[in-house]
């Protein structure tokens, strides 16, 4: 039982933090939002740091690292509310490495690690909400290979990605496929999202696809849990910064002739925000440390974590805006952007009520970190 970071993990954190501070300031981010919410150039810089190959083995050009390193990286990207969807790259790397046949691994892992190819998960369908077992997409096998017919929604950076990991049903059972955006029968329609990022509607009409795994639901649940752990870590980074700027503001802003941090009503709110942040950080650790547990245990743990993080995100985000007063609701000042990022993260891979339901249906007689 040990929650210290190793020297290597600390160095990784420092490297990402440095890039965020120097290479991804608020002005650059604003320019990326205005240009549509995704920058291939910025994504390339993440790849240069090696981050796109974090989960990919060394012999495929990756770093061969694990969930704790992923957590460290996502926390730091959260501190910079970075728009480029590295969490998606982490998912793609882990899913292909863990489930795909050798030929697909050979073809895709190395270009993903180098940043040359961006691969994202396209699991959302319009009627499914957060359910993973609801899938209207259909896969058909012909002599020449698989083809897919599907409408997927809210695909992260969908009109910028090079390929998609797509769940589709084969005789009523979900399998995972890889589909290239440049293939015939693939259409995307991109739009901005509430956090300043980018997503797309994806339509596949008789589009050629490669089978990743016939055990699609197992792999999809694993993929989503990797995404949940990443979202939790990212949220911790966002909340860290949100509390920092709020504290700075309270210690600067004067009303009634004194700094407003002298008012006990506001001080207690800050104490409550600190509480939510530290509960969230604790559960983010828990999420990442349970990511390699057996599926049942992993799913229960990740649902618990996302519920806590969702509640914390909403509280910290709302209170940060409230404590800033009028400036908190402007677009010009950064805190509203943190707030919107937290809101989007709460609703990514299942919101709080959804995960409360998951925790509730998975309850056992005993409970605890080790049960």
């Amino acid at each position: 039982m040990d929650f210290d970071f190793s020297d290597d993990q600390q160095q990784l954190r420092d490297a990402v933090r440095k890039w965020v501070a120097k290479g991804y300031d608020f002005e650059r981010r604003r320019a990326i939002v205005d240009a549509g919410g995704f920058s291939r150039e910025a994504y390339g810089e993440l790849a240069e740091l090696g981050l796109c190959g974090l989960y990919i083995p060394d012999d495929q050009g990756g770093l061969g690292m694990g969930p704790v390193e992923a957590m460290v990286v996502m926390e730091e990207l959260g501190r910079g509310i970075v728009l480029e969807p590295l969490a998606q790259t982490l998912i793609a790397g882990a899913v292909l490495d863990g489930y795909a046949p050798q030929a697909l691994k050979t073809a895709w892992l190395s270009p993903i690690a180098s940043g040359e190819k961006l691969v994202v998960l396209a699991q959302q369908e319009r009627k499914a909400r957060y359910r993973l077992d609801m899938c209207e997409a259909k896969a058909t096998q012909a002599a020449t290979g698989w083809t897919l017919d599907a409408s997927k929604s809210m695909v992260p950076a969908g009109d910028q990605a090079d390929a998609f990991i797509v769940p589709a049903s084969v005789n009523g059972k979900i399998a995972l496929f890889l589909v290239e955006r440049s293939a015939a029968g693939v259409a995307t329609r991109g739009y901005g999202t509430q956090d300043g990022g980018r997503a797309a509607e994806l339509t596949l009409s008789n589009a050629p696809a490669s089978l990743v795994t016939p055990e699609g639901l197992t792999a999809l649940e694993h993929a989503v849990d990797i995404g949940i752990a990443a979202a939790c870590a990212e949220a911790v980074g966002v909340m860290d910064k949100t509390l920092d700027v709020t504290v700075e503001y309270l210690n600067t802003r004067k009303q009634f002739g004194v700094v407003i941090s002298s008012f006990q009503a506001l001080r207690h709110r800050v104490a409550d925000m600190k509480m939510q942040l530290e509960l969230a950080r604790s559960m983010s650790y828990y999420a990442s440390l349970k990511l390699n547990a057996p599926a049942d245990e992993r799913r229960r743990a990740l649902a618990r974590a996302k519920y806590q993080l969702g509640c914390s995100m909403r509280f910290v985000g709302q209170q940060a805006v409230q404590l800033h007063g009028g400036i908190g609701v402007t677009d010009e000042y950064i805190v509203s952007h943190y707030f919107k990022k937290l809101t989007q993260l709460e609703m990514t891979f299942g919101d709080s009520l959804h995960h409360l339901g998951e925790v509730s249906s998975r309850m056992q007689d005993t409970a605890g970190v080790f049960a």
């Binding site: 210290d4 993990q9 509480m275 530290e278 650790y285 828990y286 509730s360």
Partner: protein, 392 residues
């Protein structure tokens, strides 16, 4: 980073578990698991069993006869005791006054007082709060005037937990009114059998007398009972407070009580009611998050880092959770929580409980638990402290 305990720590846990299973009397654990009334004899019987094994002062260093355990070992010991249904160790002797005697008492005082604390033979009480000194503890007024080789003590302490059983009491007394309030306080050990000491139980909202007023009327206390130096008592008291760190969160007991809540909810037919079950699910996440917070503090202590900026959160969160599980248990019982039958809270009572027997103590426990956000520095005071660490 690793969630698992080391193999050595696991082995330690197994050893403690086996010992507790062997030595904790079942009639006591039955009462704990069902929130039935524990007598003075129950509490002292368990204290003496621990004392004989050398584990009553389980946080004591080896030089004073303690086991010299690490922070993690202490946590594992407390967890095994809590889950097995052991009563809480009454902390005033082994957890509170003993570390002060070790750190600031002289050799004579250590020899005189520590053995009785370690064995569980002597019942200690705490004399801190006064009618006019709650959160503002430094304002204590109980006077101790030096007359030759003794102090004459006059004044009143209050909220003295289980003081009706107390044989000795450690007190913060005012020995000077010069300077800041903190600088005129001394730490005095007082024999409660001394002439002039009067203990009057205070009936609380649950009908029980868990706390007392303690009056001092010209009580003569030998000067050799002064710990350390005169007027330095505040420093010693702060040292004492630093000894209730992770166990103040009481997360191990919360895990046990969460299990009990599920049992009660199932028996009362509300466990499968989505609205009720979701409230339990929320509490389950709260308990896991608190446990992670505790483990983070333990890990920081283990690697010698300063865990202070999150340790302050433990009391707030732990006490809120204690209140919440007692509240949900009462709500699970519904109308059957309402009969107030004192005998129904005794083990083995054969009368009509009205509802199921497990419902009888639930409202009383709920009422009793309101204390947790008030004592040990109210949660509002705790928020001031947390805000201070964040805002400066």
């Amino acid at each position: 980073m690793d969630l698992a305990f080391t193999p050595e720590e696991q082995t330690f846990r197994e050893e403690v578990r086996a010992w507790v299973r062997e030595n904790l009397p079942s009639e006591i654990s039955h009462k704990v698991h069902n929130a039935l009334r524990l007598s003075r004899d129950d509490l002292q019987r368990w204290a003496k069993i621990l004392g004989r094994r050398g584990w009553l002062g389980h946080a004591w260093p080896k030089e004073f006869g303690g086991p010299g355990w690490s922070a993690v070992q202490k946590h594992l010991f407390e967890e095994e005791c809590a889950l097995a249904g052991a009563p809480r160790v009454i902390p005033f002797g082994p957890v509170m006054v003993a570390p002060v005697i070790m750190a600031f008492g002289n050799a004579e005082q250590q020899k005189r007082f520590l053995p009785g604390i370690a064995s569980g033979d002597v019942w200690w009480s705490q004399g801190y709060s006064e009618p006019g000194s709650g959160s503002d503890l430094a304002s204590v007024k109980t006077r101790a005037e030096r007359q030759g080789d003794k102090y004459i003590v006059n004044g009143q302490k209050t909220w003295t937990t289980l003081g009706q059983y107390g044989e000795w009491i450690f007190c913060l007394v005012r020995t000077s009114t010069e300077g800041k309030p903190q600088t005129g306080i001394s730490f005095l050990l007082i024999d409660m059998k001394s002439p002039g000491v009067t203990v009057r139980p205070i009936k609380l909202l649950d009908g029980e007398c868990e706390v007392n007023e303690v009056w001092f009327d010209n009580v003569e206390v030998p000067a050799e009972n002064l710990i350390g130096e005169e007027n330095k008592g505040w420093t010693y008291a702060k040292h004492l407070l630093s000894h209730e760190r992770t166990n103040i969160a009481d997360v191990n007991r919360a895990k046990r009580e969460l299990e009990r809540l599920k049992r009660i909810a199932r028996a009362e037919g509300v466990y499968d009611d989505t609205r009720f079950r979701d409230e339990i699910a929320k509490l389950e996440v709260d308990v896991v998050a608190l446990e992670m917070l505790v483990l983070r503090v333990l890990s920081a202590e283990k690697s010698g880092k300063n865990p202070l900026d999150i340790a302050g959160l433990l009391k707030i969160r732990g006490s809120e959770i204690q209140q919440r599980y007692s509240e949900l248990m009462m709500l699970a019982a519904g109308p059957y929580a309402l009969p107030l039958i004192f005998e129904a809270m005794e083990a083995g009572w054969q009368g009509d409980h009205v509802g199921a027997a497990h419902c009888a103590p639930l409202a009383s426990t709920y009422f009793n638990m309101r204390k947790t956000t008030i004592y040990g520095g109210s949660n509002e005071v705790q928020r001031n402290i947390v805000a201070q660490t964040v805002l400066g």
